[in-house]
Structures are given as C-alpha cells and as structure tokens.
Symmetry: C2
Subunit: 416 residues, 2 copies
Amino acid sequence: MLIVHASQLLTVPGPPQRGTRLGDLGIIPDGALRIIAGRVAAVGKSADLLRAYPQDEILDAGGRVVMPGLVDPHTHLLWAGDRAAEFEMRLQGKTYLEILQAGGGILSTVRATRAASVEALVEENRPRLLRALKHGTTTIEVKTGYGLETQAELRMLEAILRLDAELPLDIIPTFLGAHAIPPEWRDDPDGYTAHLCNEMLPAVAAWWQEHAPARPLPCVDVFCETGAFTLAQSRRILETAKGLGFPLKIHADEFDNLGGAALAAELGAISADHLVATSQADIEALAASETVAVGLPCTPFGLAEAHYTPAKAILEANGLLSLATDCNPGTAWCESMQFAIALGCRYMKLTPAQAIAAATINAAAAIGRSDSLGSLEPGKQADLLILEVADYRHLGYRFGGNLVDTVVKGGEIVCE
Amino acid sequence: MLIVHASQLLTVPGPPQRGTRLGDLGIIPDGALRIIAGRVAAVGKSADLLRAYPQDEILDAGGRVVMPGLVDPHTHLLWAGDRAAEFEMRLQGKTYLEILQAGGGILSTVRATRAASVEALVEENRPRLLRALKHGTTTIEVKTGYGLETQAELRMLEAILRLDAELPLDIIPTFLGAHAIPPEWRDDPDGYTAHLCNEMLPAVAAWWQEHAPARPLPCVDVFCETGAFTLAQSRRILETAKGLGFPLKIHADEFDNLGGAALAAELGAISADHLVATSQADIEALAASETVAVGLPCTPFGLAEAHYTPAKAILEANGLLSLATDCNPGTAWCESMQFAIALGCRYMKLTPAQAIAAATINAAAAIGRSDSLGSLEPGKQADLLILEVADYRHLGYRFGGNLVDTVVKGGEIVCE
C-alpha cells in the first residue's frame, strides 16, 4: 500500500532524539509512504513513490499530516472501580484523612482490583484501550500494581496479555508490585520489600516462562517516593529484578527528591518517570545515561499543581525526554497522548515538534522498543496516524479534542 | 419517545441557579424522560413513565447518565486561517513584538477573515461546530469580531445564520464589532467607537430586519480591556446598542480591572465574561444584578496563566455563574465544554455538580435562553445527552476525551 500526498509526512527519525536534537520531525512535504507486510518499506516524495510503485494500492492522505502512531510509555490503565466520589470530596474541601476514612485513595482501587476476575478486568479496561487507540495511541505500556499480592498481580498480567492479544494496540506490560505498601504489610514495609524480592519477583518470572515464553520479560518498576518505597528499598527491589533478568523502570521525584533518578541511571533502567522534584545533579546523572526521562504532565494537571517536569533542564543537560499520560484512576484519568502533548507545550514549554518526538520515537525508547517503533523509517512497524489537519503544529496548539482521522497499526487501518 | 433507565437523569432544574444553590442537578435515579414534538413532556421514575405511556417508542439508556445538552455561551468560533505558527513562536521564546512583526496576533485573523467569502467561512467553520456537537454542545453562542468593518462583520453574521439553518445545533449570534481597534483606526480609537455607534450598529440592526426579522436581535458585545476599548468607549457602545434594542454582553477584566463588570450590571447586560481581575466590589455589583458571570477557563489554560475566574467569591456573593469555552484561534482553540468543566473543577474549584449546572441551565441564562433551554423540565426543548458513564461526576473527574455517547437535539438523535 502507498499512502500519498501527506501535506507533511513526519518521519521523526531515530535514534532516540537526545538533548537539543529533540524535535527533528524529518518532514517530507507532499510525502508518501510504502507499506509491505505491515512494515514501512519506503518513504519519500509522492511523485517519486507513485512513479516507482505504479501497481500499489493507494490511500490518499491529501491535505493531511501523516505521522508515527503515538506511544504511551507510562500508564496504570488497568484497574477496577473508579474514584469519582473521591475527586468530588477533594473539591468539597475534604482532607486527605477524611477521604481515606471514607474508603478513598489508592487502596480503594487495590480492594476493587483484587476482587475482580481476569475476565472482569478485561471487560472493564477494553473501552479505555480503545479510547487511547481512537486518540492515536498505537502502543501503550500498562502497569500492574493494584494487586499488591502475587495472585492479584498475576491476574493483572494475564488481563494485560489477553487485551494485547485481542486488540490492535501493542500493549507492553510492566510489573509494579512495588506501587504501594499493601494494607497487610502496612507496619512492615521492609517485610513487604523482602516478600517482593523473595517471593513475588521469582513468581512473576516463573509465571512468565509458563505463559508468555516467547515474549521479552515485562519491566519491573518501583514507586520510589516518600510514603511508598525508600531509596534503599527501591534499590533492593530493582537489583533483585535485574538479577532475574527484568528490564527496569522507576517512579521518581513526583513530590520529593529521594535519588531515584540517579539510581535508575546507575542500574541502567530504561526509564525514570515523573521527575518533578529532581535535583540538577540527578538530571545530569540521567542525561549521562541511556535512561529515558518520562514527563507525565497529566498528573500535575489532574491535581492542579504548579510544578511540572523541568524539560528545558533535561534537554540542556543532553538528556532523553519522553512524554506519557500516566493514565490512572486517582490523579489523571486521561487516555489521550494528544492531551499530554498539549500540556507538554504549555507547562513544560516544549514546541509542538519536541512534544511530538517525545511522544513517538523517544516514547518508544522509554519502553525499549525504539528499534521497531516510534518513527516512519524503512523496516519499522507501519504504525501511523493520518491527522485531520495539514500542519503538525495543530497538535499542541489545540486541546480538548481529537485530531486523529485514521489509525493504521501494522499496516492495517484499525480506526477511522 | 420515552428515554428510560438512565442511571441518573439530571434535570438541573431552573430558574438559573444563583450562589450556593448552584449544583442542584435534580437527580432522578433510574430516570425516564418523555419527549413529544421535540419538547420534554414528562420526567420521572422509569417504572412510572413506562406504566403511564405503554405505547411510546423506547430508547434504553440503561447504566448511563442522561443530562441536558451542554450550552456554550461564549465562543469566537467563526474565523478564517489559524495561528499555529504563532503558538510555536511563543514556545520558542519569541516576544509579542516579534510575533506581531511576523504578522501574528488577532489582526492576522482579521486579515484572513476579511478576505473570506461567506461560503468559505461556512466551509471552514462547519467542522468546528460539528466537533462541538459531538462533544455534547447542543446550543452555542458565536461572535463576530474578526471583520471589524461593516461588510466583513455582516458576512460573519450571514455565515452564522447559514450554519444555524444547516446544522442541528442552535447557534446564537453576537455582534462583536468592538473586539479590537482595526488597523485603519489604530490611531483613533475614539473615531472607531463613534463609527461603531453611528454606522455599524445601525447597519447591523437594519441588516437584521431585512435578513432575520423573525429572530431576536443578536447581542452586542464589547472587549473592555487595556489595549482594546476603555470603560468610557465601552459604555458609549453598549448604551447605543441598548438604545437600538440589542441585548448586551461584555468582555471584562481578563487582564485588568477597568470596571466592565459593574457597567454590565448597571446596563442590565445578560452576561459579563472572563472576570479574572475583577474586584470584590464589581463581583458584588454583578451578584446584585441579573447579569450572568461567565468564566472562560480554557483561556488561562491555553496561555498557561495562573489566574482563573474567582468562582468561590462569585458564588459567596450570591452571583449567577456560568462556564464557556471561549473557543478562538489565538488563546484557546477548544470546542469541548467537557474540557471547560474539567478545568472549572480543577482551577475554579467547582464540584462536578456545580460545573454541570454552570454549563447547562446557567449557560442558557448567559445567552438569554433559560426559559427554553438548559434543563430537562416539562416544556423545555428536548436537547439532551446520553453519557457513556453511570455517574455524572465522571464529567470533571476525567479529561482529554469525550464521554458523550448520544446527542439528542429537539427530540431527534443527531449524533451517536
């Protein structure tokens, strides 16, 4: 198939775009793209590809932008229940304690998710994934972390694999048993840390060998934050996971600068995420590594907080910056990477070009898939969007809607 | 037709909800609504209406919220061209002057709009209105104000009337010849003010008599702000308009507190809009009047500014508060009232219930239509939404997407 006459074909060339290189969209005006067997076979000017491949079936994208599918590299999209009542209580001025006493907070989502079967999780989460797809996300990371006990976490992994098999999106799973201290370990966080290392991580590795031996192991992630896991506990969990062969991720510095970003760099994690309270030294440690910094602007937006990931400092330090939604039921129920881009422009002062590269090639790097995804270059998976606009800058400039006209995944139109 | 089994039927009862009454959604669980000839004929429990009207055609809204269609009472949705390049320049750190020199700013939209035919305006703006409709807006105010000369302003009015006739939305026009000082009057704002009063307003009244004699006159609006129209110029324009029989609106206190809100109250304007820098005295003057305060949270969001309309102070003073998108190409290209609600909750600290009432019954009041629109009460126009969720609080709680499943306008399904 030939997609032709894109007003702008954004190739967003790899490798992942570091520092001030971020924002290289590799634009081909009146661009065309050839797809063979689900992969990009060629890109170029429409006139050239039309002449070279006169027999190909044509999809005319005239007057519209063609760009790589959006990659969302950080979500907690799989959960049961909702926290709409808690949102309302916050606006009524209720305190954190009153909300907890009313059964709110992350542990309310843990209760609901523990009680859900794999089938129930699949049913409840399918519409969220389809909403992400409709808004242009063709690959999405989804974390566990509302089970916080072995069997409930494994049910979440199973639901993720089932949804991945069923839906056109690629779903990249991450094990986040270290999302919070579960209620039964409330007074013994070191005990839960040991349990994670000695029981849960090996159980996940064994389960994976049995259920998905052909797939790479999921990432292991830790919420390194005051009130969740200390730096020492985070190190213990991540080092154990690394020893078992898991790729690593970390939630760091959402509220406090505990040193999680530097730990991620030291251990060769593929990403360090949130990074709001990160020190300049930790920014530099990250930038000197291959670890991708993932900004999650929907979260401070969801909480109406003033502080966002310091994108400029990360880019000036020559770091790798990406964007994600952080879609979750507590602080940011948002499936749209387009909205993360709009926030990245306004609150992280990224240009539309930088935000788009952060949401495609660099987001693919943040899930370890930039070899096969995130750009429209020969050999890459043909995951792409046709926007309803002629100029890519409308992403970022406009907000609250959906500019995606057509979604192509692996060479097939899956949404239009 | 009977719409039955709404998880929550939100009637949002009138009259417009003043002060702390804001947020009365009049919720009927397992609710039903009867439509006859495009109007609400009855509301009640599903069991009761099913028993009372066994012959009616049934639309099952089981498990989903049914609520009044959203009313967007302040938009500049009709324009030609776009300002994506200007958005990018701002993010690249270009100054206001550099942007002006590169041809940016409101006058670039004026140039493009003056050059557009009525047909071109209709074509370019239809998709925006359909996007608003898809996001649940069933009635929308649209201002002129990118013509700034008689003929170009009349072409905008004509385009608005054509789109109103063609599309299922009700479009309420407003004449905003006093949007900015046009370039040819740059050195003589008093001269343009006199021209508006002596030539343009009478021309609009005469044109209206000829082209839409059966419709109420459009509102006349003024941008009372530093750099636009002074308080004295605003008074002169509004008093002249009032003398000609036009209902009045005002843009006041977006950046500076010039006294426009109090002027609106004094002259009996139907709304005063923006209201960010409004003084407590002006809030109290507004609250003592029938003038509706319209918060436009998409605008500070679009500009990443920290200050929003002080909703709490307006409600504590017993004022009438509404929400709108302010959709425009410079600061807030957003067609979604759902997003205005999400912002109203986060940045104006409204509860979802308050934001919904502000976006329905009170928004109808802000365009002088609360007698016929904005609530689901017998006799009102059957403009309603079926959401894809069971709990109205998901509006506000969630963001970046679209929770509208079905749009019904005047009793007809127009979008699903």
